[in-house]
Point group: C2
Chain length 241, copies 2
DNA sequence: TAGATTGTTAATCGATTAACAATC
DNA sequence: TAGATTGTTAATCGATTAACAATC
């Protein structure tokens, strides 16, 4: 394929930028709902929690949708980002694994409000079949092929126990799913062309715990250092922060 | 503070490394449970889903816990990483916001199995007080100060509606919490010294949707390109991928 | 025109990776 | 000693940031 024949929206853009576009989208929606018609890159950057240089650099990958000296039209920019990220239409998704977390996800309004429409709840435990959650019946995992084919599903959310994760992922892929959002804390192996993203809630807590412990250690070190200094230790060029 | 007086565990290590240490910890636990006594960096890297150069580089920030020509003692390395990341002891946490997601989090076994002990469930809706979830009573948010003081809580998990997020965060910080895991899709502003991490499930889906759409666009572009080529267009040095 | 703000350039910073000397 | 594997170096890559020319 030639660069000339490639539509603008198909060009490579940095992953870090891709990950921030949904944040900008949300901030623009909030601005729009607050009745703001126009905003500067600085306004939007504040709303999104980034700095304005980064925001402008990110937007520059999509094209040129602002007006120098003026700023951005909120609704227009929102439309452009939505179109670019594929969020200008609905995505059918399935949720596999209807335990505590799967149920919470089935009820999560943040999916539907952002264009993700849950078309089926699937669980490997056939005993669960027929139970109704968030207005949808729980169906046996064996139904996945027909559900995926019928609704044209390409994105699946997986909230199953770790030991089942790889097996379930294989079945999802076999059924035609090409993007998986994985809530199980396991490394999945999938064929090329299938995208996996992982949400690992306990890893996030562990990262926080590391920084908490560091605060404590630094305090202790400072205390010990104070003692050393009181005893006459001389600070050297090794001194840090 | 001098570098000499600083304990090894208090030295700066890259954020990207910090975020991967819990992954290594989990992989080591799995290896240990499978009865593996020793592993090479390559073994562990495969189990953790990274490449071995990155793994060794990461571990080099903690110290030198392997043996050249041999590899790592699984339990010893696990112990060292746990100690370094502060996961060799229990962390008391509170969960604020006991909706669908908060309830799922209260029941989530992945927290307790990794050293996080939920000491209280708090909700702003006083009607909820007294309800029991995962063996714990739901308590009014007003109890947060006493709970935090009593159990020495520094880490809080927040699963409240977006419109309440900033207010609740302010209360958590006022009560003495210095690390927040935020499940609400909102930008929080907190004082310096307070760490916030965000889990945004719909952003993850949106990133997947972007890549899905790109697959489709690229296919279309390839198709269109094929037509152009059939019509005699000549590929140039601009050709991509 | 003067003031404001974008889009882009270039410098800087941090993370990844391959290669290999050190060493068990 | 020979083979294996770590820990480290140096090169590369990608992301961030500040500064500013372009332009409304």
């Amino acid at each position: 394929m030639t660069a000339r024949s490639m539509p603008e929206s198909a060009r490579e853009i940095p992953e870090a930028t891709v990950a921030r576009l949904p944040v900008y989208l949300r901030a623009l929606t909030a601005l729009s709902e607050a009745g703001t018609a126009t905003c500067s890159s600085e306004d939007l950057a504040v709303a999104a929690g980034v700095n304005s240089a980064k925001l402008r650099k990110d937007l520059s990958h999509l094209g040129s949708y602002g007006t120098r000296g003026v700023g951005y039209d909120v609704d227009y920019l929102r439309h452009q980002i939505a179109r670019f990220t594929g969020l200008n239409h609905d995505w059918p998704v399935v949720i596999v694994g209807i335990g505590n977390l799967g149920q919470a996800l089935a009820n999560y309004s943040g999916f539907s409000s952002r264009g993700f429409h849950v078309v089926a709840l699937l669980d490997a435990d056939r005993e669960r079949a027929g139970e109704e959650i968030a207005g949808l019946p729980v169906r046996p995992l064996a139904d996945i092929e027909s559900v995926v084919a019928r609704h044209g599903v390409t994105i699946g959310v997986m909230a199953v126990p770790t030991h089942a994760a790889q097996t379930v992922a294989d079945r999802m892929v076999a059924a035609g799913i090409t993007s998986i959002l994985n809530f199980a804390p396991s490394v999945l192996s999938v064929p090329a062309g299938v995208n996996v993203r992982k949400v690992d809630m306990s890893i996030e807590l562990q990262i926080l715990a590391y920084h908490e412990q560091r605060k404590t250690l630094l305090d202790q070190a400072r205390g010990a250092d104070q003692v050393a200094t009181d005893l006459g230790e001389v600070a050297t060029e090794e001194e840090v922060s």
